[in-house]
């Protein structure tokens, strides 16, 4: 079954090179159209109803997100393409949506397409992913949502609700308000990086806490903290000073 795709990018080079790469390495999909800005893209999507779009984020006359905003329901898969945009990539990661970095690596492209093809079509999940993305992308947004891989599916939680994360080998247990726990297949390091600009702090090799939920710090060699759910978490000796410095800024 051939899949129709639309490439949306303002730069000719990027557009054309992606087109060529798809033609050459991904025979299972067909490029139905190319758009240079979001207005053009909107029209084309409506006309052609593609199963997948490659969407550039940074474009004059409206970003990729602005395009998505125009749809009430999205019936197509999305792979974002971007040269470099730390901020946007973070938001995409929060929502667990696929993205490609330009210049495009052929293997990455193949993998992304593979995932789209294999993915169980669950439009409601995808919609939720997109909603959380559009929600998170707002700069003033404080109530961010994050999609967590739990088993095969995705669970959406509010960043606010995360009390702490605990490492368990290659898995990470995320402890949420209301005694909920989610075990994810990502490492604690990945979460530390993901939450880098949020109010999180790695107090221990296997503990990342949300300072928003910090109730008390008890002094000791390293000391320990008591979180809002009453759990006690040890602070490592190595991290103590940095932690105290951080606290003094709060």
């Amino acid at each position: 079954m051939a899949i129709n795709v639309i490439i949306i990018d303002d730069e000719k080079g990027a557009r054309e090179s992606l087109h060529k790469l798809i033609e050459k390495y991904c025979p299972q999909i067909t490029v139905a159209a190319k758009a240079t800005n979001i207005d053009e893209a909107y029209q084309l999507i409506k006309e052609l109803s593609p199963q997948l779009i490659f969407l550039d984020i940074e474009m004059p006359n409206g970003s990729g997100f602005d395009l998505l905003k125009k749809f009430d329901h999205i019936h197509f898969d999305i792979i974002f393409t971007t040269a470099y945009d730390h901020y946007a990539i973070k938001a995409i990661k929060y929502s667990a949506i696929d993205y490609l970095l330009k210049p495009i690596d052929i293997d990455d492209l193949k993998n992304a397409i593979q995932r789209v093809l294999q993915k169980q079509k669950n439009k409601s999940i995808q919609n939720e992913q997109l909603l959380s993305l559009l929600n998170n992308i707002k700069p003033e947004q404080t109530d961010k949502k994050i999609a967590l891989h739990e088993g095969d599916g995705l669970t959406f939680v509010r960043l606010k609700d995360i009390i702490r994360c605990e490492s368990d080998g290659n898995y990470t247990t995320i402890i949420l308000e209301g005694n909920r726990k989610i075990v994810t297949s990502k490492t604690l390091g990945e979460y530390e990086e993901l939450f880098a600009n949020e109010n999180f702090f790695r107090i221990h090799r296997s503990h990342l806490i949300h300072l928003h939920h910090l109730k008390k710090y008890i002094r000791g060699e390293g000391g320990y903290v008591i979180m809002s759910d009453g759990s006690q978490v040890e602070v490592s000796r190595r991290k103590k000073q940095e932690f105290l410095d951080k606290l003094s800024f709060l």
């Binding site: 730069e11 970003s63 470099y84």
Partner: protein
């Protein structure tokens, strides 16, 4: 440390102002005395008691307390004071009434009939206390000698020879009295002193009459008796020395150093500095004032009461324990003392001059000289020394401050022959080159510079015989503190400390400045790095690479090569330029051109560009901070030119040199700042203009180093007809960096 040093300096100054040679000072009515007419002085219970014609006063060195009839005195005019063994102070009124002071008030001796009768308005001449508390009073003119027991009983002491006419009595010990009396006052008017213990009489003087007499026991155990003009020094058995003064004697006193002071009627006071009575060997003070009493206090002050001028006093001499250097003939003076050898049974005093075995005999009627009077050398002595016009305590050593440098020395000579005329010669060693010969009896030196001086004087009699030995006085005038060695050392160390402090502070300052500089440099480095990162905008890099990727996927090897090498060139120049503070304009323009070409590629050549560089710019030599213009160009492209659809974009960059700066204008025909911002505001995704904020910060730092400030001017171009924006011009004024 500094404070301690300053304190040390201050204290040192204080120590320089240490006690100077004591000079006589005066207290008079205006200083608090009741009267300048003072009859007697006594030091009693820590106070100096002053008897005057207007009342009795006590003085503690600061304040006077006065006693009058209101305080219990019989009369205000008090002529005599005496303390007794029962710790009472007796005050004799002018009308011979006896008051005594005890427990803070004066009481009149009970008017015992016997006592009143005995006194009978006679003048009380002496009042003496006995060790048991009894008081013995003598009166002039036949009142006799009265003993007052327990303040109530009165008895007349009957001694044959005293005969009721004794004028003087002193108890030396419980069983020893010394009496002075006119043994037969009317008949032969002989004065006698009886030493009761040995039951022996010594005829002391032929002086007659009832005039005032004084008697003291000296510290040596010897006695000094004075009456009229005569002064007699004797011990239990013999007369040691005697001297006739020119005026009647009012009082005698031995001070704590053993100097003998004699107060004279209308003749001032004289001092025998060696404690020996020798004819002429004394200093004179107070001119022709009448000194009625002399008394020392606990602090060592010596007080003099005068009948007409109030009180004088002499503060204690801080050098009294000083042993003068060998040069001074203190030995000589001592020798004089030794030479005065006394004898004798017929009222004569013999002075042996050991040096030539001459014997000088003085007796009450005449002075005779054995051997040849013509060849007898005259004795020379210093009779007074004034420092800065003020009398001083006699001495042979004076330590003076630099301001006490005006010295007048009076000297006198005497010999056995009366009315001799003397010739003197004197010399101040190290000041006078030679002896100075004169008839004057004083030498005056004004404004002596600091130093050590020895004043020597000797006399020659009419026969041309010089004194055997000179009279000498040593003066040490200390330099003012600013001329002393220690001051110099102090000054040098003070300056050294200041210099060190200065250096310490300076070093700290420099360190601090260096630190600040380092910090600033670090910040500059940070900014430079950020500037580099802004040029190497990842967005730009990766997008450019994506564009080049297209040529590769399109098999356009030539174009791929061309752009890849251009891109490499741009990257290289950005990295290279970012290491330098300033770059030649040529390099900057080249990098700019490469950059624009890359952007053109990305934008599919939707705009054209031109770079104009005016003739007056030396592209090789004129330098500007690198990577400065690029962010403005990027802005023009991505926020102005990429939005336009209806026309071809045009980017114009022109560089012009004006005086000492380069004017760079970047002109685009894009949509203008306002519209660009509107579009961005609509977008979900926030715009982060990192490049511009870094550039702004960089400008601030560059400006903090320069007097010529970098400045940026943004002009919105408006179409006159449509009133629509038709682009933006940015003008950057870059001072030329040498």
């Amino acid at each position: 440390m500094l404070i301690r040093l300053l304190l040390f300096i201050c204290l040192s100054f204080v120590s320089v102002l240490y006690a100077q040679v004591p000079l006589f000072k005066q207290l008079q009515e205006q200083d608090g005395l009741l009267s300048n007419k003072i009859y007697d002085l006594k030091f009693y219970q820590g106070y100096l008691w002053i008897a005057s014609d207007k009342g009795l006063s006590s003085y503690d060195g600061k304040q006077f307390t006065h006693y009058f009839t209101q305080q219990g005195l019989s009369e205000n005019e008090i002529i005599k004071l005496q303390s007794d063994a029962a710790n009472r102070l007796w005050a004799v009124g002018a009308s011979s009434r006896l008051n005594y002071f005890t427990q803070g008030k004066f009481l009149l001796l009970p008017s015992n009939e016997t006592f009143l009768k005995l006194l009978n308005n006679r003048i009380i001449s002496t009042i003496n206390s006995e060790s048991n508390g009894d008081v013995i009073v003598t009166t002039i003119l036949g009142g006799g000698t009265i003993r007052i027991k327990n303040l109530t009983q009165v008895e007349t002491l009957k001694q044959d020879w005293v005969n009721g006419a004794s004028f003087f009595v002193k108890q030396l010990s419980p069983d020893q009295f010394i009496w002075g009396s006119n043994s037969n006052a009317i008949v032969n008017k002989k004065l006698r002193v009886q030493l009761l213990k040995k039951n022996q009489e010594i005829n002391l003087s032929a002086s007659q009459g009832y005039s005032k007499a004084s008697f003291i026991k000296l510290m040596s155990g010897e006695y000094l008796y004075a009456k009229d003009q005569e002064l007699i020094h004797f011990n239990d058995s013999i007369i040691i020395g005697r001297s006739f003064l020119e005026k009647n004697i009012e009082c005698v006193y031995e001070d704590h150093e053993g100097k003998i002071w004699v107060g004279l009627n209308a003749g001032g006071a004289v001092c025998f500095p060696m404690g020996t009575i020798s004819q002429g060997g004394y200093f004179s003070y107070f001119g022709n004032k009448t000194i009625s009493a002399i008394c020392g206090d606990k602090k060592g002050n010596l007080w003099f009461a005068s009948i007409e001028s109030g009180l004088f006093y002499l503060p204690p001499n801080p050098y009294s324990n000083y042993t003068p250097p060998k040069v001074f003939s203190s030995e000589k003076l001592n020798k004089t003392k030794n030479n005065v050898q006394t004898t004798n049974s017929n009222n004569s005093l013999l002075i042996n001059n050991l040096l030539n075995d001459d014997v000088l005999t003085l007796n009450k009627d005449s002075v005779s000289i054995k051997n040849n009077a013509d060849t007898l050398p005259p004795l020379i002595y210093i009779s007074g020394i004034k420092i800065n016009e003020k009398d001083t305590l006699p001495g042979n050593y004076y330590a003076l401050s630099y301001s006490e440098n005006s010295i007048k020395i009076n000297y006198a000579a005497f010999s056995a022959v009366n009315n001799q005329k003397f010739q003197f010669r004197y010399r101040l060693t190290d000041f006078d080159k030679d002896w100075i010969y004169t008839d004057n009896t004083f030498a005056q030196y004004n404004a002596l510079p600091p130093g050590d001086y020895l004043f020597s004087v000797s006399a020659m009699n009419a026969q041309g015989v010089w004194s055997k030995e000179n009279a000498n006085v040593f003066f040490k005038i200390s330099p003012p503190f600013w001329q002393t060695l220690w001051f110099f050392i102090l000054l040098v160390s003070f300056i050294a400390v200041l210099v060190i402090l200065f250096f310490i502070i300076r070093v700290k300052q420099i360190k601090k400045r260096e630190q600040e500089k380092t910090q600033l440099h670090k910040r500059i480095a940070d900014i430079e790095l950020q500037a580099l990162r802004a040029q190497m905008n990842p967005h730009f890099i990766f997008n450019t690479l994506a564009s080049i990727q297209y040529f590769i996927t399109d098999n356009n090897v030539e174009a791929a090569n061309q752009y890849l090498s251009k891109f490499a060139k741009l990257m290289r120049s950005i990295i290279y330029n970012s290491r330098k503070k300033t770059v030649p304009l040529k390099d900057e323009i080249q990098a700019l051109e490469l950059y624009i070409q890359m952007e053109q590629l990305r934008c599919n050549y939707s705009f054209d560009y031109e770079i104009k560089c005016s003739e007056n710019i030396d592209q090789n030599d004129d330098e500007i901070p690198g990577l400065l213009i690029q962010p403005y160009v990027e802005n023009a492209i991505w926020h102005g030119l990429t939005y336009i659809k209806d026309r071809k974009g045009i980017l114009k960059i022109s560089l012009d040199k004006k005086k000492d700066f380069i004017k760079c204008s970047i002109e685009d025909n894009g949509i203008g700042r306002k519209k660009s911002m509107e579009i961005k505001a609509q977008s979900l995704k926030p715009h982060q203009s990192v490049g511009m904020s870094i550039t702004k910060e960089r400008l601030d730092i560059l400006n903090s180093f320069q007097n010529n400030k970098l400045s940026v001017n943004i002009i919105d171009k408006i179409n006159q007809q449509t009133q629509e924006a038709e682009g933006t011009t940015v003008e950057i004024f870059i001072p030329l960096f040498d």
